[in-house]
């Protein structure tokens, strides 16, 4: 029993979210014949890649003890730029789009660092304001890519593997290694786990925060560009609510909102869990209205289970 607890808690090598992923995979493969096909699985990967890429950056920001609510808007802006600027060439448009993510991330990070205003507030403001920027830039219009090369990229495959899924998995691997193995990654944990101590130890906490905001800005922009390649177009409302699903995925993956704890592998599990649930419920033809309720209930259930396991683990009084 104790071993089972330890196992579920993730002190072994399997994180609880992955058990959940395995359970729903088994469940859906019994419920639908299409579910386990290679095509469907790579579909799931492509569909989760958008939220997934943002979630990689969000994991860093949240381990760092912050949060970024502006990612959906940044994604929308980058998508619009990557399509709207194609008169100057696709390369320039894509570079400009990615740069917009870097810059907005840097602005968020700089404000959090220099003014000391809570990241929730800073990025809530940015979430509203950047959406305004999109509308100012696009004047409410959707943009269309005239060049099919752009949208061909979004649907291309290498062998049976879609390019977008490959990009997502490579980014996941890189971000996992950066978090685990580099000075910046380790210091991100330190700053989130105990900012006071990190400051005393001479860690430049402001800089690390800013770098992480730049990272999440970049990934939001990258997700925006890749989403635009899937559509060959960009709409000004693109990315609404994405911040909510991203945060949900990261939390499902075990990263703590209070900072100092989390992992990219967990986040990958969280993202896949949401993707598989959506895909599986589509295959089972669960009505859209019920999907919303089911996702909400599952999220709360996972929170409860996670908390129960942790209560048994810690001997403190739960306040």
């Amino acid at each position: 029993m104790i071993n089972m607890n330890d196992f579920l808690k993730g002190s072994g090598f399997i994180q609880p979210i992955w058990i959940f992923v395995i359970v729903i995979t088994v469940f859906f493969s019994f419920m639908s014949e299409y579910f386990l096909s290679v095509g469907n699985l790579s579909n799931i990967l492509v569909q989760t890649s958008t939220i997934g890429l943002i979630a990689l950056g969000m994991t860093y920001v949240m381990i760092n003890g912050n949060i970024d609510l502006s990612v959906g808007a940044v994604l929308g802006l980058a998508a619009s730029l990557s399509v709207g600027l194609q008169d100057y060439g696709i390369t320039i448009a894509v570079i400009a789009a990615l740069a917009s993510g870097l810059v907005l991330g840097a602005i968020n990070g700089l404000i959090v660092w220099k003014t000391g205003v809570n990241a929730f507030i800073v990025t809530l403001g940015a979430m509203i304001g950047v959406r305004g920027l999109i509308f100012v830039y696009t004047e409410e219009q959707s943009f269309y890519a005239t060049n099919f090369a752009f949208s061909d990229f979004g649907t291309a495959s290498i062998g049976p593997f879609p390019v977008l899924a490959i990009i997502f998995l490579i980014c996941t691997l890189v971000m996992h290694l950066v978090l685990k193995k580099t000075g910046h990654g380790r210091n991100t944990f330190a700053v989130g786990g105990n900012p006071e101590a990190a400051l005393d130890a001479g860690i430049r906490i402001g800089r690390h925060m800013m770098i992480n905001f730049i990272i999440v800005g970049f990934f939001a922009a990258l997700a925006g560009v890749l989403l635009a390649t899937q559509m060959g177009a960009a709409t000004p409302n693109l990315g609404r609510d994405y911040e909510l699903w991203t945060i949900t995925a990261v939390v499902l993956g075990g990263t703590k909102l209070t900072g100092g704890y989390g992992s990219i592998t967990g986040t990958l599990g969280g993202v896949l869990a949401i993707g598989i649930l959506r895909n599986g419920m589509n295959l089972m033809q669960v009505p859209a209205f019920y999907v919303l309720v089911i996702l909400g209930v599952i999220l709360i259930s996972v929170l409860i289970i996670d908390q129960r396991l942790n209560v048994h683990a810690s001997k403190g009084v739960s306040i």
Binding site: I121, G125, G132, F289, Y290, G296
Partner: protein, 336 residues
């Protein structure tokens, strides 16, 4: 030693008096900012300060305001409530749909009861199960939206006979020339402000938000306190739904979408900290009104509606930053 202490205090006090005006202004910074905004808009638009325009803005702001009153209590208690948007859709659809089926009185009562039950679910999960409020209310945001759609089957609901139902009073009525939504907003705000600052219940909520562990170690029933804040929030949402349903005499399933963010923006702008244990209803009222007037002023000046988002971005951060800077007596943080 005592004399030295007193000496120090005397020095501090005299300094305080000298800087009295400055302190007052910086403490009321948001109010000053509010007046400056009003003044600036009135220079460029004749209608801006007209009575009818002001009444329009206040009336429009009162729905957000009513919800914000409840959410402010939740935030003072140290939590967040992002589910109010969906909850507003839920309550409005419910009261409008039931109006023709069981009559206005029954519809209102049932709507309040069911909304309070949803509030109780939030409260139970966050207060008693001690789950993180951000994630729980986020999940509830999605789940309640689903419930609304399941209930209505995705259809709009309308009140068939709109001309002679007393239900119209809440959204369209006037008492002494003042719109009923404004009166409701004012009454709720006053009651909740009095409760928060003059009752033992309010004191407990401040304690729970200020330091939950210490509140428990002081014998306060923290779980109940947190639970009750979500009931207050749900109650306020019900009142807002009453106004909204009566104003429109119909409802869509997503009518409350995005309200959670507007409410939060208003509260933050007013200067209530998201950390809990501090804040006031007055601040929230000012914050909500600022948002309303900025939106209205920009439209009157002929700017497209989305410019208000850019302005909101800037002023939210400026407002919170200047407040912080004033407290720490320096503009920027010092760490690298």
């Amino acid at each position: 030693m005592a004399s030295i202490e007193q000496g120090k205090q005397a020095i501090m006090l005299s300094k305080k008096h000298k800087a009295g005006l400055l302190n007052f202004l910086s403490a009321q910074g948001i109010l000053v900012f509010f007046l400056i905004c009003m003044f600036a808009f009135s220079l460029f638009s004749e209608q801006f300060l007209s009575q009818s325009n002001i009444m329009t803005v206040v009336r429009q702001a009162s729905i957000i305001g009513i919800i914000a009153v409840g959410v402010t209590v939740v935030i003072i208690g140290g939590n967040l409530d992002l589910s109010v948007g969906s909850m507003l859709s839920f309550s409005t659809v419910l009261v409008v749909d039931l109006h023709d089926k069981i009559g206005p009185a029954g519809a209102i009562i049932l709507m309040f009861v069911l909304t309070l039950i949803i509030g109780a679910v939030n409260g139970f999960l966050i207060g008693f199960m001690r789950l993180n409020s951000l994630i729980v209310t986020l999940a509830m945001l999605s789940a309640i939206q689903g419930l609304v759609l399941i209930y209505s089957g995705g259809k709009n609901v309308d009140i068939a006979n709109q001309s002679d139902t007393w239900f119209a009073f809440f959204g369209r009525g006037y008492v002494l020339g003042i719109a009923v939504p404004v009166i409701l907003f004012a009454i709720l705000a006053i009651i909740v402000q009095v409760v928060m600052s003059h009752t033992s219940y309010g004191r407990r909520i401040f304690a729970v938000g200020g330091n939950p562990a210490a509140a428990v170690y002081s014998g306060i029933r923290k779980n109940w306190c947190v639970f009750s804040t979500y009931l207050i929030s749900a109650f306020c949402v019900s009142c807002a739904a009453l106004v909204l349903g009566s104003r429109v005499m119909g409802s869509q399933n997503n009518v409350g979408q995005g309200y959670e963010l507007l409410v939060l923006a208003g509260i933050i702008l007013g200067g209530t900290s998201l950390l809990g244990g501090a804040g006031s209803i007055w601040k929230t009222i000012i914050g909500v009104l600022i948002l309303g007037f900025i939106q209205n002023g920009l439209l009157l000046l002929g700017y497209p509606y989305y410019t208000q988002w850019l302005v909101t971005w800037v002023i939210i951060i400026l407002a919170v930053w200047l407040d912080l800077a004033n407290k720490r007596k320096r503009l920027f943080t010092t760490h690298s």
